[in-house]
């Protein structure tokens, strides 16, 4: 059902063409093969989950997509063009943003400054005009501040706007990090375990934000998550990795019924 053209999900969202495709990616660290010949695609407007047991290569896959790791083999296609070897900051300018498994906020800065920093790729005024400030630089700052304030409203973090992020509790830090990634208005948003270490309530909040981001901004999202309930509930399609190999790919229902996936999660003797 996934081949060719767009389709409509059961809840009425239109999923578009392929936005990103990884083809036959192989990543090795010395003798260790982290990812072995994996191919899958991410379509415009969908929520794509990557799941798998510990050490399956999920985070490595995200690191390949946003340029921290360079695979030995394989191709990455983004928005219809093959991507050469690029630095992470150049990939950010192409429109890929992400959050980290262990929060990677700028601890010395306030919530507002963190999210404003997320607007980095959208700001254009040259440094010498920033040095003068009055005029274009201030205007650009205010324009971007307005967008950032919308994100702050959206994530319901108005009260902690001026608080240094180091002082915030874990759940809020995760939310600020999501805000920072959203500030870049990404074409593709990568979330590395957005719900790790959260309680049920915080997980519900975060799931709602992820669905709302996808729904309101139409952002394509690829996420890694361990909570199966959440994954099956919010994602449109799921790719399952195990020992660096792809063992399943499809809608949550298809994946749930896949014998290899059941084996990988419940554990069977490998012969």
């Amino acid at each position: 059902m996934m081949d060719g053209g767009s389709f409509v999900t059961p809840d009425g969202r239109t999923i578009g063409d392929v936005l990103m495709e990884v083809r036959n990616i192989t990543l090795r660290f010395g003798g260790v093969v982290a990812i072995k010949d994996i191919s899958f695609d991410i379509r415009e407007g969908e929520i794509r989950a990557i799941i798998g047991p510990n050490g399956a290569g999920k985070s490595s896959m995200l690191n390949v997509i946003n340029g921290f790791y360079h695979p030995q083999d394989g191709e990455i296609w983004f928005r219809g063009a093959k991507r050469g070897p690029m630095k992470p900051h150049a990939i950010a300018h192409q429109g890929i943003a992400r959050t980290f498994q262990n929060i990677a906020l700028f601890k010395g800065m306030s919530t507002l400054d963190n999210i404003m920093t997320g607007r980095f790729t959208k700001m254009r005024v040259p440094w010498w005009q920033q040095a003068i400030w009055t005029g274009p630089a201030e205007r650009e700052e205010v324009e971007n501040r307005e967008i950032v304030e919308k994100i702050i409203d959206f994530l319901e973090i108005q009260a902690i706007r001026k608080t240094p992020v180091g002082r915030l509790p874990y759940g809020l830090q995760k939310r600020v990090e999501l805000g920072r990634a959203l500030a870049a208005e990404p074409k593709l948003l990568l979330l590395d375990e957005p719900m790790a270490g959260m309680n049920v309530e915080e997980k519900e909040d975060m799931s709602r934000f992820i669905l709302d981001v996808n729904d309101e901004f139409g952002t394509t999202i690829a996420l890694i998550e361990h909570d199966m309930g959440v994954v099956m509930d919010i994602s449109d399609r799921v790719v399952v990795l195990d020992y660096g190999q792809k063992i399943g790919d499809g809608t949550p229902d298809e994946v749930r019924g896949n014998q290899d996936v059941i084996d990988a999660y419940l554990g069977v003797a490998h012969d």
Partner: protein, 358 residues
């Protein structure tokens, strides 16, 4: 009339982002400016200018420069003295090569030359971090001082190996040389301090400044946001060196007048600048001023108290100065590790509620 944040509502993002968001602070700032520009020049004398005000102003510029690199961008540098020397020698070479050039532009150009040299010595920062980078910048310090000592071209082959600032005027007033009046020297430095602090504030609150702080706090996250570490680090080195270079040029032309490089720009100057920003507060423009004031003014103050007040011999007073200054630095760092700027912030937070803290 009280120091109040409450009730001071902002209705635009521009007003919310201003440098002094609290009305009282704004008025205090204008008052300081007015006194500095309109009152001090008429009451200044030779001693106050050369012992207190001019070194304080020049060191403020240098501290702001180092704070941009270390406090905002997180790159430790022990090469400040060397970069000051670059500014001084650039000023000397430009002054002797182009005698008609206005002293104002000489100082700016010297800053520009230092920015280029800083860029060069900033290159290792792309590969090494922390203590190792500090050692690499230490190499810059020793190399630059050695260079200015050993290559006669830099001091125009003078027999003493010293450089002397020739007389230069600005708008008819003598700025450099032994006959310059303290008023002229003070105002010249003050204009630079004002302009440079304004530039530093603007650069650090915008896109560039945020990219520096992003690199300082979490370089991997900065990269995925689109910050090019190469550009961020090198721009911090260049801007910082520009400030330090301007400071070095003023130090030589206006303050000292004659310089022997090993003595004027040795490693102790690098440490002095580092002390200033650590005591004053990393990542704060106000902290740079506070640190410079602490390091420059305190010894003068103590000397006056001990020699003038108690009538102690000068040499004993000098030794005591070191003891007390060292002890004070330790006490300060234990009591407030984030410097005088954080101390000031705490006071401000307390003042919000004063006199009814509950």
């Amino acid at each position: 009339m009280f120091y109040r944040e409450a009730g001071d509502f902002k209705t635009s993002y521009a007003a919310d982002g201003q440098t002094f968001p609290i009305a009282f602070d704004r008025w205090r700032y204008f008052a300081v400016l007015a006194i500095a520009f309109l009152v001090v020049p008429f009451t200044i004398n030779e001693y106050v200018a050369s012992a207190v005000l001019i070194p304080f102003l020049i060191w403020s510029i240098i501290a702001i420069g180092l704070n941009i690199l270390t406090g905002y961008c997180g790159q430790v540098s022990l090469g400040t003295g060397g970069f000051m020397a670059v500014g001084a020698y650039a000023a000397y070479k430009i002054m002797t090569a182009a005698p008609e050039l206005n002293i104002f532009f000489v100082v700016l150009l010297s800053g520009g030359v230092t920015a280029l040299v800083g860029l060069l010595f900033g290159l290792p920062s792309l590969r090494i971090k922390g203590f190792y980078l500090a050692v690499a910048t230490l190499a810059a310090q020793f190399f630059l001082v050695w260079l200015f000592n050993r290559v006669p071209w830099f001091y125009n082959n003078s027999a003493s190996g010293q450089i002397n600032a020739p007389d230069r005027t600005l708008g008819g007033f003598l700025i450099t040389g032994p006959n310059a009046t303290p008023e002229a020297k003070y105002l010249f430095c003050l204009v630079f301090v004002f302009g440079m602090a304004w530039l530093a504030r603007n650069l650090t609150r915008g896109r560039l400044g945020r990219s520096w702080m992003a690199i300082r706090d979490m370089d991997i996250a900065a990269e995925i946001i689109g910050v090019n570490p190469l550009k961020a680090k090198l721009s911090a080195f260049a801007v910082s060196s520009f400030f330090v270079g301007v400071g070095g040029a003023l130090f030589f032309t206006v303050y000292l007048g004659a310089v022997e490089v090993g003595e004027a720009f040795g490693i102790n100057k690098s440490f002095l600048a580092l002390f200033m920003i650590i005591i004053g507060g990393l990542g704060s423009i106000f902290g740079s001023f506070a640190g410079a004031a602490f390091i420059v003014l305190l010894p003068v103050f103590m000397k006056n108290v001990m020699v003038g007040g108690f009538g102690w011999p000068t040499d004993i007073a000098t030794h005591f100065e070191f003891v007390i200054l060292g002890a004070l630095i330790i006490v300060f760092l234990i009591a407030e590790p984030h410097g005088l700027a954080a101390f000031w912030r705490t006071i401000k937070e307390k003042l919000r509620l004063w006199p009814f803290p509950h």
